[in-house]
C-alpha cells in the first residue's frame, strides 16, 4: 500500500467532513422523532428525496434560486409532518410498528417520485454547482459548504431551543413521561405535532442539500438509511448535536478508508463503528 499524498489526504478529510455534515443533517430529524416522539421514521429519507426533487423541479424548470425553494418546501413539509403525526397518534403504535408504517410510506413516496420524475438520474444545474474556494492546494466547493453551515447551525439551534426555551423544556419533559408532564400542564399532543412538523421540515432542508451536491434517483433513498441510522445511534437518540458529531466521525473515517484502500470498503467502517458502539454502550 502506498501512502497517498498530503493533498489527497487533506481533500478526503474535507470531503469526509462535508458528507458527514449531510449525515448529521439527515440524522437530526430522525433522532428527534426517535428520541422524543418514540417513532422510528424511515419515511424521513423518502421525504428528504421528495424535497430534493421539489427543489430540482422549482429550480431547473421554474427557474427559482435553489435556496429560495426552501421558502415553499419547508412550510409544506412542516404541514405534512403535522398531518402524519396527527394520523399516527390516533393509533397508539409501538416504535417497531412505526418503523413498518413509515417503510410503507417510503415505498409510496418512492413510487410517486418514480412516477413523476422517472427512475432516471436527475442532476440540479445551479449557479452554486460550480463555485468553489481554493485554500492552498485544497478545494472547498460551495454547495458542500452550504450543507456544512446549515447542519452546524440547525443542530446548534435545535440544541439551544430544547435546552433553553420553555417549548423545548416542555418537549423534553413530555418525552420523558407524558402523563406526568400533562399533569403539570404540558400539552403533549400539540408539542408532538410541532415536533413532527419540525422534523419533516428538517427533511426538506436536507433535501435541498442533497439536490445541491448529488445526482438524484428514486432508488438512492435506500442508500442513505444504513449510514444515517448509524450516525443517529452513535450520536444518541434525541440528542441534537450527536448525529452531526457522529456523522462527521463516520464521514471522515469513510473518506480516509476510501483514500487508503478501495471506495467499496467504506461501509465496513460505519457499520463496524455502529456495532461496536451498540455492544459497548450499556
Amino acid at each position: 500500500m502506498t501512502l497517498p499524498s498530503l493533498t489527497l489526504l487533506g481533500q478526503s478529510l474535507l470531503s469526509g467532513i462535508f458528507i458527514g455534515a449531510l449525515y448529521g443533517l439527515l440524522g437530526l430529524g430522525l433522532s428527534l422523532s426517535w428520541g422524543l416522539l418514540r417513532q422510528i421514521n424511515l419515511a424521513h429519507f423518502a421525504l428528504a428525496f421528495l424535497g430534493a426533487y421539489l427543489t430540482y423541479q422549482l429550480a431547473s424548470v421554474g427557474g427559482m434560486d435553489p435556496l429560495l425553494t426552501l421558502a415553499i418546501v419547508a412550510p409544506c413539509f412542516f404541514a405534512f409532518g403535522v398531518l402524519m403525526h396527527w394520523l399516527l397518534a390516533r393509533f397508539s403504535i409501538s416504535p417497531f410498528n412505526s418503523l413498518l408504517v413509515s417503510f410503507g410510506l417510503t415505498v409510496i413516496v418512492e413510487s410517486m417520485i418514480q412516477w413523476i420524475w422517472t427512475a432516471d438520474y436527475r442532476r440540479l444545474e445551479s449557479a452554486y454547482g460550480g463555485m468553489k474556494f481554493k485554500i492552498g492546494t485544497l478545494y472547498l466547493p460551495v454547495p458542500e459548504m452550504i450543507t456544512l453551515a446549515t447542519a452546524v447551525a440547525l443542530s446548534l439551534l435545535t440544541w439551544a431551543a430544547l435546552r433553553y426555551t420553555d417549548l423545548g423544556k416542555a418537549m423534553r419533559a413530555a418525552s420523558e413521561d407524558a402523563p406526568i408532564a400533562a399533569a403539570f400542564g404540558v400539552n403533549e399532543r400539540v408539542l408532538s405535532l410541532i415536533l413532527s412538523g419540525y422534523a419533516a421540515a428538517l427533511a426538506g432542508v436536507a433535501g435541498l442539500c442533497l439536490a445541491l451536491s448529488f445526482t438524484l434517483a428514486p432508488s438512492q433513498i435506500y442508500v442513505w438509511i444504513g449510514v444515517v441510522f448509524a450516525a443517529v445511534m452513535i450520536g444518541g437518540l434525541g440528542n441534537p448535536i450527536g448525529p452531526l458529531v457522529a456523522g462527521v466521525v463516520i464521514g471522515v473515517s469513510e473518506a480516509l478508508t476510501m483514500a487508503l484502500t478501495a471506495p467499496t470498503w467504506a461501509p465496513l467502517v460505519s457499520f463496524s463503528l455502529l456495532i461496536a458502539v451498540l455492544l459497548v454502550r450499556r
Partner: protein, 580 residues
C-alpha cells in the same frame, strides 16, 4: 379420526408434489417456487423473531451467507450442488450463532437495537463479500453448475426442492411452536427477566432459535443461488429482503407458526399481480399502502386476529384438575434452608444492601420488613439471581448460588413473586402457571404441567379464569396469579414480595389463610410485607432491614417493640436518645 398438524403438512406436501406431473407451463412452477421460497424465509425468520420478539433485520445476511456458500462451493470448487446445501445451512447457522453469542450477552440489546445491529451486520458482510474473492465485485455466474436431474425440467426440479424445503421448515416451525423451546421463546417475548427467573434458560434458547432460523434461511439461499444463476451483492444483501420477510410475517401474524406462510403467500401473490403488468410503479405504492393499513388496523396479523376465537372455542373442553400434588420437601437434610452471608449490592453509589447476613430455617415463615428503600426487594432479587451481588455468599440447601444464572437458581428450588405482578401478557392464565411447572424445580412435561397449573388455579380461586388473558384479571387476581406461578414450580423456598399490598381487608384475610395453607404443605416462605397485621399473624420470625443492614431479628412481637425498629419506621422521638 383426527389428523395431526404434521400429518396435514404431509398431505399438503403430497398434493403439491403431484403438480409437476400435470405438465403445466413452467411459469406456474416458477411462481410456486417463489411462493415456497418466501414461505421458507418468512417462517424461518419467525422462529426467532416472531416467537421471542427479537426482531432481526439481518435475515438478508444469513440468506446471503447461504447464497454465497453455495455459489463459492459449486461455482469455484465444483462441489455437487446438493452437497452445498448442508454446508450453506451450517455456515449460516454458525454465523448467526456467533453473532447471537455476542449480542445476546448484552442485556439491553432488545427491540429496535437488535434490529439495527443485525441490519448493520448485513452491510458489514456485504462489504466483505464484495471486496474479497468470494464475489470480487463482478458477481458470481453459476450458469455452468449442473442442476441435479430430480425431475425432467429445471423448473420442476426447483419446484420440488423448494417444496421439500418449505415442508421441512413448516414442520420445524410447528415442532418448536409446540415444544418446550417454543413455550420458553413466547415467555421471553413477553418478559425475558421473569422467564429467566422462572427457569427458562433464555440465553441458550435464543441462541438455539437463532441458529435454526439462520440455518433454514441459509438453505433457502443455497437453492436460490442456482435459481437466479447469477449472484450479485447488490441483489443478495438488499434491504428489501429483511423488510419483505418482516412484512410477510407481521401481515400473517408472528405469534402463530403458520402466520408467516399465510403472509408470504398473500404478498408474493400481490407482488406478482401488481408488478407484473404495466402498472409496476402503482403496484409498489399499493403494497406500501397495504402495509400501512395492516399495521394500523391489524397489528396482530391475519392469524393473530382470527385464530384466538377458534382456539377459545376449543379450550372450553377443559380437562379436570389433577389430584392435589403437594410439594415434597426433603425434610431433615439441614435445619437451615437458605443462608445469606454478608451480601452487599450497590447501584452506582447507592448501597442497597450492606453486608446482610441471615438464615432461613426449613419450614418456617420468615417476615422481611423494613421501611421503603431498606433493601428488601433487592435482597429477593439477589437471592433469585436477578441481580448479582457485589460481595457475600448465598447458600441454598448447602449449595453456593454465587454466579449461577437465574434459571438454574429457579430449578434448584427457589421461586419468587413480583410486587407489581408481571404475568406473561400474551399467555393465558393457565399457561402462565404451567410455565414455571415446566421450567422450574418440578420440571414437568406439558400435560403434567397443565394439570398441575389447574390444581394451583383452584387452590388460589382462579380456576374460572384459566383461559382468560392476564389483562382480564383484577389486581387481587393478578397477585394470586403470581402466587400460583410460584407454587406450581414445586419450589422448596418461596420468596413472596408484597403479595398483600393493595388488597382490601377481606382479601387480606383470604390471602393470609392461603399463605398458611401453603406452609402446611411443606414449603418454606420468606415474605416481604408492609401490612403489619399479616406480618404479626403469619411470621414465625422476622428480620428487619434498614438502609441495607439487618437491624433486628427474632419473634414478631418482641422485635417490633424494639426502639431501633420503631425509630426506623417512625423516625426519632423528640425526647428519645439517638441509638447507636
Amino acid at each position: 379420526m383426527r389428523i395431526s398438524v404434521p400429518g396435514w403438512i404431509g398431505v399438503a406436501g403430497l398434493a403439491f408434489a403431484a403438480v409437476p406431473f400435470l405438465e403445466l407451463p413452467a411459469f406456474y412452477e416458477t411462481f410456486m417456487y417463489l411462493v415456497f421460497h418466501w414461505i421458507v424465509l418468512a417462517t424461518s425468520w419467525n422462529i426467532l423473531s416472531g416467537y421471542s420478539g427479537y426482531f432481526s433485520f439481518g435475515h438478508g445476511a444469513f440468506f446471503g451467507a447461504g447464497i454465497y456458500t453455495t455459489a463459492t462451493l459449486a461455482g469455484s470448487y465444483g462441489v455437487p450442488f446438493l452437497w452445498t446445501l448442508p454446508a450453506a445451512a451450517l455456515v449460516s447457522a454458525l454465523f448467526g450463532m456467533g453473532i447471537g453469542a455476542v449480542v445476546f450477552r448484552v442485556g439491553q440489546l432488545r427491540g429496535e437495537l437488535f434490529a439495527l445491529i443485525t441490519l448493520a451486520v448485513t452491510f458489514v458482510l456485504a462489504t466483505i463479500v464484495l471486496n474479497t474473492r468470494i464475489d470480487g465485485g463482478q458477481g458470481v455466474n453459476l450458469g455452468g453448475v449442473a442442476l441435479p436431474a430430480i425431475l425432467s425440467s429445471p423448473s420442476s426440479t426447483f419446484y420440488v426442492l423448494a417444496l421439500a424445503m418449505m415442508l421441512a421448515t413448516l414442520w420445524i416451525a410447528y415442532g418448536i411452536y409446540r415444544s418446550k423451546l417454543g413455550t420458553g421463546l413466547f415467555a421471553i417475548h413477553d418478559d425475558e427477566d421473569v422467564a429467566e427467573v422462572m427457569g427458562v434458560p433464555t440465553f441458550r434458547y435464543k441462541l438455539l432459535a437463532f441458529g435454526v432460523s439462520c440455518g433454514l434461511a441459509g438453505v433457502a439461499g443455497g437453492i436460490h443461488a442456482l435459481f437466479v444463476s447469477y449472484v450479485t451483492v447488490g441483489e443478495t444483501f438488499s434491504i428489501l429482503v429483511p423488510i419483505t420477510v418482516v412484512l410477510m410475517s407481521v401481515l400473517g401474524g408472528t405469534r402463530h407458526w403458520l402466520g408467516p406462510a399465510v403472509g408470504a403467500t398473500v404478498i408474493t401473490g400481490l407482488l406478482y399481480a401488481f408488478t407484473a403488468g404495466d402498472y409496476a410503479v402503482a403496484g409498489r405504492a399499493a403494497l406500501g399502502f397495504i402495509l400501512i393499513v395492516v399495521i394500523l388496523f391489524l397489528p396482530e396479523g391475519l392469524l393473530g386476529r382470527f385464530i384466538p376465537r377458534l382456539q377459545g372455542r376449543r379450550r372450553s373442553a377443559a380437562m379436570p384438575a389433577a389430584a392435589p400434588a403437594a410439594p415434597a420437601p426433603r425434610r431433615g437434610v439441614t435445619a437451615t434452608l437458605l443462608e445469606v452471608h454478608g451480601v452487599s449490592k450497590a447501584f452506582s453509589g447507592v448501597q442497597a444492601l450492606d453486608g446482610v447476613t441471615l438464615q432461613v430455617r426449613r419450614g418456617e415463615i420468615l417476615g422481611l420488613v423494613g421501611p421503603n428503600g431498606s433493601g428488601k426487594s433487592t435482597l429477593i432479587n439477589v437471592v433469585s439471581g436477578h441481580y448479582r451481588s457485589n460481595d457475600g455468599r448465598v447458600v441454598f440447601e448447602g449449595r453456593d448460588l454465587g454466579g449461577l444464572a437465574a434459571h438454574r437458581i429457579a430449578r434448584s428450588g427457589i421461586a419468587r413473586t413480583y410486587q407489581i405482578p408481571r404475568p406473561f401478557a400474551h399467555l393465558s392464565v393457565l399457561q402462565n402457571v404451567a410455565l414455571p411447572a415446566m421450567f422450574g424445580h418440578a420440571a414437568l412435561d406439558r400435560a403434567a404441567a397443565e394439570r398441575e397449573a389447574r390444581h394451583w388455579l383452584e387452590f388460589t380461586g382462579l380456576a374460572a379464569k384459566a383461559d382468560a388473558l392476564p389483562e382480564d384479571l383484577n389486581l387481587h387476581q393478578r397477585k394470586f396469579l403470581e402466587l400460583a406461578r410460584a407454587l406450581a414450580s414445586h419450589s422448596n423456598l418461596l420468596l413472596l414480595d408484597e403479595v398483600l399490598s393493595g388488597l382490601t381487608p377481606a382479601e387480606i384475610d383470604h390471602a393470609i389463610r392461603t399463605v398458611r395453607a401453603i406452609r402446611d404443605r411443606g414449603a418454606t416462605i420468606v415474605f416481604v410485607e408492609h401490612v403489619m397485621r399479616a406480618v404479626m399473624e403469619l411470621a414465625d420470625r422476622i428480620v428487619v432491614l434498614n438502609y441495607g443492614r439487618v437491624i433486628a431479628e427474632g419473634g414478631p412481637k418482641e422485635v417490633m417493640g424494639r426502639p431501633e425498629v420503631v425509630t426506623a419506621y417512625l423516625g426519632k422521638p423528640q425526647t428519645g436518645k439517638p441509638h447507636a
